[in-house]
Subunit: 209 residues, 2 copies
Amino acid sequence: MFKCEGFRRRRKAERPAEILDAAFAAFADRGYAATRLEDVAARAGVTKGTIYLYFPTKEKLFEDMVRSHSAGLLSEADAFLAGAEGTSADRLRTLLHFLYTRCVEDRCGREILRFMVAEGKLFPQLVAENYRDFVMPMLAMVNALVDQGVAAGQFRADLPRETVRIVIAPTFFLSVIRLIFGDAPPVDEEAYVEAHINMALAGLLAKPA
Amino acid sequence: MFKCEGFRRRRKAERPAEILDAAFAAFADRGYAATRLEDVAARAGVTKGTIYLYFPTKEKLFEDMVRSHSAGLLSEADAFLAGAEGTSADRLRTLLHFLYTRCVEDRCGREILRFMVAEGKLFPQLVAENYRDFVMPMLAMVNALVDQGVAAGQFRADLPRETVRIVIAPTFFLSVIRLIFGDAPPVDEEAYVEAHINMALAGLLAKPA
DNA sequence: TATTACTGACTGACCGGAAAGTCAATATAA
DNA sequence: TTATATTGACTTTCCGGTCAGTCAGTAATA
């Protein structure tokens, strides 16, 4: 038997997401330990008691927040790359562009990285989950792209293992820079991205015969 | 009139360093907010009251700890690079080797990065200091190396700006990986370093005529 | 050398405020 | 009137910071 839809019911359905969003903002701002649940509550426009109607503890709230904010990134990457056409070099450019916009530019992607670095020790399960569900498939995706490039004769055949991680490392570096320096990082981002693509292709492309 | 040297005097001289070391271990383990001064005291083999004989507040203790643990890194790098001989490529290898051993392998270097990412917002002055005293001179050093390589005709002349940051980015990436995953990171480090040097040189070296 | 007086590094009990988590009371939609 | 989403005061625990007291180690005296 379904209850009638109404205002209270709608609130109840929306509360968890509202609280999770508030939690993201609060935890990102001050870190797990220093964030008070009353801060989270205030941001969500409720009081502390309400949070406990939907989340049993502060820890669980944090974990659910990270999960809800990292889900979806991967499928997005998949879709983004599936639509990419052209040479292997073109597809690599597309991928790096995606990483820069979605994982560096976008605050959510960055802050997830901060949570991993800053709070990972307290939430080892969350770290493992994130690696399994996001990092590994992402690396596999890049690996596949590189393998295709090699198979097509466009990329060098003698690439050392781990080359893929080297290729994407600069995106993480810029993320870290922005985590540390906020939105006014001491880096010329446009030139940085250009230098990155330049160097990645120099390392990957097969020498013209 | 100088007092006689004695046991008590010696302790007093050594206490600050002992407390700073204990603080490093404690803060690195649990983060700034979650670390209790009694943890620090216990690690140093004293009680909380003693800490306050040498440091006015928890914040100041943290700041002094970071300063004491990041000082020296730069002069070390300077010395390391000054002793490097050979081609520009050789000198670059030497530099990357230094970064990997001193800033990635060594726990101290890594944890400083964690402090910047995790606690930087609370200690903006510390961030600025670290950038000014360590990151900037370090970048200048690498820049000088690259410029020499270009001048000597060993490196390409048309390198985009920010290339230097791209070159050292993979060392930071590995640091982050180890901060997140501890001492058993899901990376083949030897292959990683090889791939890094390989790609850096591919991007930098002038094409043989 | 033996005794005594003194110093100061160190202690640990204590305070006040803050924050996680609880629950009886309230308010409001139906 | 009933059901329930929400509140906010309350309890408990914890921790940064304080300070009066302790006692090992040193110097002065006999």
